[in-house]
Amino acid sequence: MLIGIDVGGTYTDGVLFHGNSIIAAEKRPTDENDLKNTLLQVLDELLKAAGKAEIKRIVLSTTLVTNILATGKGERTALILLPGRSLPYSEYKICPETYFLKGSIDFRGKETESLDKAQLAQIINDIQLSGVKKLAIASKFCNRNAEHEIAVKKAVQEKCPEISVSISSEISSKLNFPRRAVSTYFTAMTIDKWNEFADEIEEAIKARGLQTEIHILKADGGTMPLQISRKRPCETVFSGPAASTMGGLALDQNEKNSVVVDIGGTTSDISLIISGQPLYASRGARIEDKFTHVNAFALRSIALGGDSLIWHDEDIIQIGPQRQGVAACFGGEHATVTDVFNYHLNLGIGNSEMSTASIEKLAGKAGMDSADLTANIVDMAVERLTRTIRDMFREWENEPAYKVWEVINKRKFHLDRIIGIGAAAKSIIPMVAERMQVDCLIHEYSPVANALGASVVRPTLAVDLHIDTQNNYYTVDPGGLKEELRKAGDWQLEDARQLARTHLDKVCRERGMEEYAAESSFYMEEQFNVIRGWSRSGKIFDLGLQVSPGFIKEYKGVEI
């Protein structure tokens, strides 16, 4: 049996899944101050339902890291940057305790300015005096040569063994130094708290006598073993929306172009699925207004949910963004979006009379006819969702392109269907689909699709490889390794692919996901001849190989 638990901001959802059906589902309000406790309560309910059956895997999605960062409760962390000779240092507004160090590497991995040892000694001294215990280090082009980062880390650890150090080459090898620095800084800031949480979870699982794999859901909609997450806590941010998107996909496994709309209490999260694959944010997850290298789904959130309050200001009727309790039909005091749809479409949700009463009261105050008022609000809500969905298509269609064929074969998004997730989806989504003239899918399990998604997604992994045959090296992520090329002579694309596959296989073994290695595919393949004078002196390859988001092999869909 499989367990998926999504610890969300308002609710925690869990499902127990077996074969092709949900055996048990559990929903509880999240105690923000004790996520672990909420999680274990849900887990225990699910375990009760499982009885003596073996639990093969537990997948958790949590807002822990997101919360730590959003509330500024991360640990005090210093940052050493080696930005080289380019942008002014004043452009790096990442961390209040930032130290700038001389030393630079270029795009070929060549040292163009050596480390300033005296300056480094001074910085280490200052950091020690400041009493900070966490340190992040990022150098420009460490993805081509990490020796500066490694040397700085070593120097810090020799002098101050009490300081724990994270270096950016171990976090990501993608280009974009500020994003790498931010990702490393956030990692250093949350790593201890995350590990504490991981310890507690492991202990709790052990205390329950379970021998089961524990996985953590990542922002990219895949899982990673709890052990791996200990070094990469930032990858757990935004895993809640990822769970919903994957849940939507799990309800409707096909190769269509879909949009998943998760209508929650006060917000709706919208994500795109293109030919059966969720769309990634091209710039990485944006955490606390800063771009990072965390691979996350492209997601738009709008302040419109089932509980969004309906109110009027002079002659204008407004929706939200505030919430004052649940909808009137569920015992709330004021009319909400849910009440409006309930009244307008005669849906019979909850206590419909209360919806009617709340709307008539509001209409009376506004001096409007109830039917006009609700028609108006329904139109506004549907229009807002429709516009956001269309904006997302446009944004995807207008992504920058760097090759001629990409421009000539300009992509166009043709929507096949809308998948509604969340409790309020079934009242709102059919109208959005009607306006956009597409099908819609509202499933019996839409309200717990997030937990279902978590329970059945497979692990994901991306390997980024950069080969420079002129300089006889390659760098590869994850790991931030730099190695000499063992194959002499001419390199062809197939040789480069082989090297990427070898690394992917190795990491798959380490993460216990060998069975998915064969399903990996290249999402980037670039090859350049390096010409000096009028002849070729080498080649540069940039390859990206990934096991993309999907479902575990035993998942064949869900039946009601």
Partner: protein
Amino acid sequence: MKPTGILFFPAFDWAISPTHPEREERLLYTRDQIFEEGIMDFPQIREYQPGLATAKDIARVHFCVPDIDTHITEAHLVSAGSALLMADAVMQGEVRNGFAIIRPPGHHAMTVTHGNRGFCNINNEAIMIEYLRKKYGVKRIAIIDTDVHHGDGTQEIYYNDPDVLFVSFHQDGRTLYPGSGFMDELGGPLAYGTTINIPLAPKTTDTGINYAIDNLILPMLEEFKPELIINSAGQDNHYSDPLANMAFSAKGYADLNKKLKPDIAVLEGGYSVETALPYINMALIMAMANIDYSNLREPDYVPSRFKESKRNLDYIKDMVEKQLNVFRKREEIIAENRQKAGDFHSYHRSIFYDTEYLHEDQRNELRMCPQCSGFRVINSSCQHHNGRLYKVSCISVPANACSQCQEQARRVYRDMSTYNHYDFVYLQDRLGDEYRSFDLQKDLEKVL
């Protein structure tokens, strides 16, 4: 403040030939540098997706012999189209200025195109200018060509247009391709003084070029009052460029752009792909986005490395004075030219296409119109590689033409179309935004 628009189109799948300077690798390290800097994420920057130019956009500037499809690949349409897109973003006020980092380049492409010259098939800046004129009614434009090679294509296209100030500084034509751009190339009789060349001695440094900017280019811009300033932004004045011999630095390029304040910059040449381009492109982006660039330098740059000689600076000072005089007397001289002129001004040109080894012969006839800058007839012949000798007649009506010139040009087109001497006759009517080509052998007319 509004952001600076950046359109980065490195054409990673296009090359003239695998080992040619104009190859896939050209903007690879620039890509690495600007992506690693993360500058596209900055609020001061807005990144744009490439666009596609249409055949009509090209026909507004060029006579492609025998037709557009013969010379223009998709890469050219994307490169030119990207310049247009950047121009739209600037004109529509989405950005304060824009830099199109695009290839293939264009500033050696002339009005008549039989093939590739100096790595260029079509002129991105000219296509952009005629688009701006048509779409937004812009009239007066200044183009500052900061490539190390003389921008002979752009010069030829605007040689007779008094509303376009074309200024090119470059390595002296006696020492470098294309072997033109001398001080006495000053514009046609009705556009005299709006073409200004600044030929510089090899090894000229930041100091020398900045002297010319401060004392000649900026005063001319001040007096000419263009509605738009365009930087035809080559990057091969750099001290490490393998195809030229100048001693300009990335910081020098940044200073230059800070002073010029171009509305739109369009990448031209620059072939020091690893040691110069990544840094110059960053320098330009930073200067245009008003980001402090004092920390920027190439890894091997030593400020004391290049010193301007007194002799060279004296030469530049003298040239600056002469050219500024010519520029300031331009209206007088144009008036004199009009008085003494006959109906037509004619001249002969011989053009060499270095990339393709083609030789073109041209006879130009410019109508000395009392009202406008006159329509032009270019009779051109050139033997192509397929062995065929193309003889064509190209009639061009400028954007600022009077209706009399337009009428007369149309008549010439009709007459020529019945005259068996030519294989093709073309009419480029910018005033009416109509572009015709007539194939005499097939008796077939096409209209765009």
